[in-house]
């Protein structure tokens, strides 16, 4: 007898079909992994179970949860179900909590609503729950506000809300996609612990096969709103019978094939040389006339980069990677130290003097949605850096240049008249890369360029970046928390921890045999499909 049985579930929003005849069942105490690319309907399946679909959604089929027909249940019945019988954890912890209410209020609210407990009792239970998810009283009193917590801590609060009443089913929709690998591991361990000790079932949704493989008893693989394959995790992963499953598995561990680049000649002057770079931020003062406390985001960092070299800068979120990148891009002034690019100092130089350097140094950001003005056409967006050239090209030459780079990044020249919203996430990241290479720079700084993308699209973008490095001979500084990305594309890896570079070396060596604790933690936490498969097989044979 299954806890949840979805049969022939069809969903359309307006005229767009989202789900086509989904079948899915979860037994009590079972962890079901739901895997697919973005847009495949995973999140909509979850929202259908909660009946929190957007306006204009039309649902058909059957969804039986613990004897209740969810699709036919009236709103009042669903309110009793949500939070009490079905808990839900969301992808984006930064926005999932109400900014004007304390974490105590937010955890206690559901408890009070469902059990009718008075405020002190509900708060006592909330206190216990927060302890359980790893937010102890001394450091995280109930009176804390969400903005005083980091992303990982906020996700723990969201988990506390979802599990406060020990629901029978926990839905976790990409619960770790927005977090770094070490936090991902911690959150997944926490979720597994909660599920096991309360005998809950879990629907774990992710685009990354490696993330769910380690957790799930069974897997359901979806694509374009249809179930491709379903079954035991060990069987699905070892057989990889379905071509799409194979594709997902490959994407998850993808390494671009690339021509071994020429070893940079050691005598040549380095392209980029950073020495003793430090950046302080002043924190808020505790008292009005108290001394300002300083937070040292980057602390005495020195390294150099040769022309054409591909270097990864890896570290956990908040370790100072992005601050370092912003200083190299001359977007943020260092507190002390020096940055020399092509032999020229860039700290404290006027914007006018920076112009020729900016041409040689371009950037690709993480968020392909936020980094384009939605009201400009692709041509204008991609051509933006051309104003850095001494001789601006005329309109025709400009179109030619844009067409050329669009082809280089795998888009069509015809795309230049489209607006950003007409492109998918992966295509937008291609657009961002096109914008970065149009001035033929010597260095591209890529800040988490594939973290916001699905594994399968991630693989394509990594291929593209590898190709471009070979054909253009450009150097990369690749900022990431994801080691598979570092492994895929770079020769050298620097590990950053609490503002300092703690380990540097050839990528294979650093990732294969890490020396520093920070590097070891990153390597240990990285999702690994092969190891997950071994564990799943071991679990299956043990049972």
């Amino acid at each position: 007898m299954s806890l949840l049985a979805i049969e022939d579930l069809t969903l359309s929003i307006g005229p767009t079909p989202i789900l086509k005849s989904i079948d899915l069942s979860i037994a009590p105490g079972e962890v079901m992994g739901l895997v697919g690319e973005s847009g495949s309907g995973k999140s909509m399946t979850a929202l259908t179970l909660m009946k929190l679909l957007p306006d204009g959604a039309r649902v058909d089929g059957r969804a039986l949860f613990d004897g209740v027909d969810i699709l036919a249940a009236p709103e009042a019945a669903m309110c009793r179900l949500r939070g009490r019988e079905i808990g839900m954890v969301f992808q984006e912890p930064m926005t999932a909590l109400n900014p004007v209410k304390t974490i105590g209020e937010q955890v206690a609210e559901g408890i009070r609503w469902h059990t009718g407990a008075n405020r002190p009792d509900a708060e006592a239970r909330a206190r216990l729950m927060l302890e359980r998810v790893g937010l102890p009283e001394q450091k995280f009193p109930l009176t804390r506000y969400p903005h005083e917590l980091s992303g990982g801590q906020r996700q723990r609060v969201v988990i506390a809300i979802a599990c406060a009443l020990k629901p029978k089913l926990l839905i976790a929709d990409e619960p770790t996609t927005a977090l770094d690998v070490v936090l991902q591991k911690q959150i997944l361990t926490l979720l597994r612990g909660l599920v096991e000790e309360n005998g809950m079932s879990m629907l774990l949704i992710s685009h990354d096969l490696a993330v769910v493989a380690e957790m799930a008893d069974r897997l359901t693989i979806v694509r374009h709103g249809t179930v491709m394959e379903t079954g035991e995790t060990s069987r699905i992963l070892s057989e990889q019978a379905h071509p799409f499953t194979r594709q997902l598995a490959e994407a998850s561990t993808h390494v671009p094939a690339r021509a071994r680049g020429l070893e940079p000649s050691p005598v040549s002057e380095p392209l980029l040389e950073v020495r003793d770079l430090t950046r302080n931020y002043s924190l808020r003062r505790s008292r009005v006339f108290g001394r300002e406390t300083m937070f040292r985001a980057v602390n005495g960092v020195s390294f150099s980069l040769a022309a054409g070299q591909k270097t990864a800068l890896v570290g956990r979120s908040g370790c100072g990677k992005s601050t370092l990148a912003r200083m190299i891009l001359a977007l943020d002034p260092p507190s002390s130290g020096s940055i020399r690019f092509q032999g020229e100092e860039i700290c404290g130089v006027s914007e006018e003097a920076l112009r020729p350097l900016r041409r040689e140094m371009q950037v690709v950001f993480q968020d392909p949605y936020g980094s384009f003005d939605p009201r400009h056409r692709a041509e204008r967006l991609v051509a933006e850096p051309l104003h850095l050239l001494n001789q601006r090209p005329d309109a025709r030459r400009r179109r030619d240049l844009v067409a050329e780079v669009l082809e280089q990044v795998g888009l069509s020249p015809a795309d230049m008249d489209k607006y950003p919203h007409e492109f998918s996430g992966g295509q937008r990241q291609r657009l961002a890369i096109a914008r970065a290479i149009i001035t033929r720079p010597k260095l591209i700084i890529a800040d988490e360029p594939v973290s916001a993308l699905d594994v399968s699209i991630r693989a394509q973008i990594l291929d593209l970046l590898a190709d471009l490095s070979d054909s253009l001979g450009v150097a990369y500084l690749f900022i990431t928390h994801d080691l598979t990305v570092a492994r895929a594309i770079t020769d050298t890896t620097m590990v950053m921890h609490e503002g300092e570079i703690v380990e540097t070396g050839p990528t294979e060596v650093v990732l294969g045999n890490p020396k520093s604790d920070a590097a070891k933690a990153l390597v240990a936490a990285a999702p690994n499909l092969k190891m997950s498969l071994e564990k799943a097989v071991a679990r299956a044979t043990r049972d």
């Binding site: 949500r82 808020r284 003062r285």
Partner: protein, 318 residues
Amino acid sequence: MIPYLLHRLASAVATLLLASLVVFAVLEILPGDPARLMLGLNASPEAIETLRTQMGLDQPVVVRYLEWLYGMVTGDFGRSLTYSSPVIDLVEERLAVSLPLALMALTLSTIIAIPVGVFAAARRGRPADTVAMGLAQFGVAIPNFWFALLLVYVFAVGFRLVPAGGFPGWGETWSSHGQAFQALVLPAVSLALPQAAILARVTRSAVVEVMGEDFIRTARAKGLPQRIVLWRHALRNALIPVLTIMGLQFAFLLAGTIIIENVFYLPGLGRLIFQAISQRDLIVVQGVVMLLVASVILINLMVDICYAVVDPRLRDGR
């Protein structure tokens, strides 16, 4: 929270000083010698000179500014040339009408606007929303003096519930308080209508925006019904733009009500300014303008404090 408040307070005082400098400077530059104005066209130069010395007009500009500023701080706004009485008394008399009127209108518009805005937001795109927002559009579009005349026709002339105009003064007894209050009811309603219409639209769009946020989905996933989520989670987050508009409206209601004051024959602040300007009574203009600037700054300070009460993130701002 304390550093935030001190910071706001310091910037309020700085703004006030800057504004006083501007007000003083403008009246310095404007043509017209107060002494000559007071004594009329036929006065002898000697008499004018004597009066100038008496009024301190022969002092250097800096000294006069500081004396004027000191007077402002101690409540001495100078003497009106046309009314022959201290400006502070004139202002006090008028404020006794304008301040209660502004408060009544603001309260009324808030009581109407916020529920209507939230109601419309909750039923976004449905007929109730369309009707509510259509009415709000109507409320913005009606000239308020016309609406005032309509109110007078119905409630004062037709039902004879309230007086059609005039202000009897607050008096000493409860019944005279009541009469004064009655005299302000129709003006307050006619001032509140367009304000409520604007505020309702602002509230609606702010709530609609907040309802699309992720944390609303989290609250719904806890099992809270839509209605409770709306009031407990959405409204407080939507309050920032609403408070901003309310602050602007209150400042307008204090002095920008001259048309309504004229319709109802009310001796309010708006009329005082209007008369002072038309009679070139610069001392009164200077005093009242300064007072209004001060009250706008004070209102903004209160709005800033409300922001911090509503949104904990702002309390830590530097």
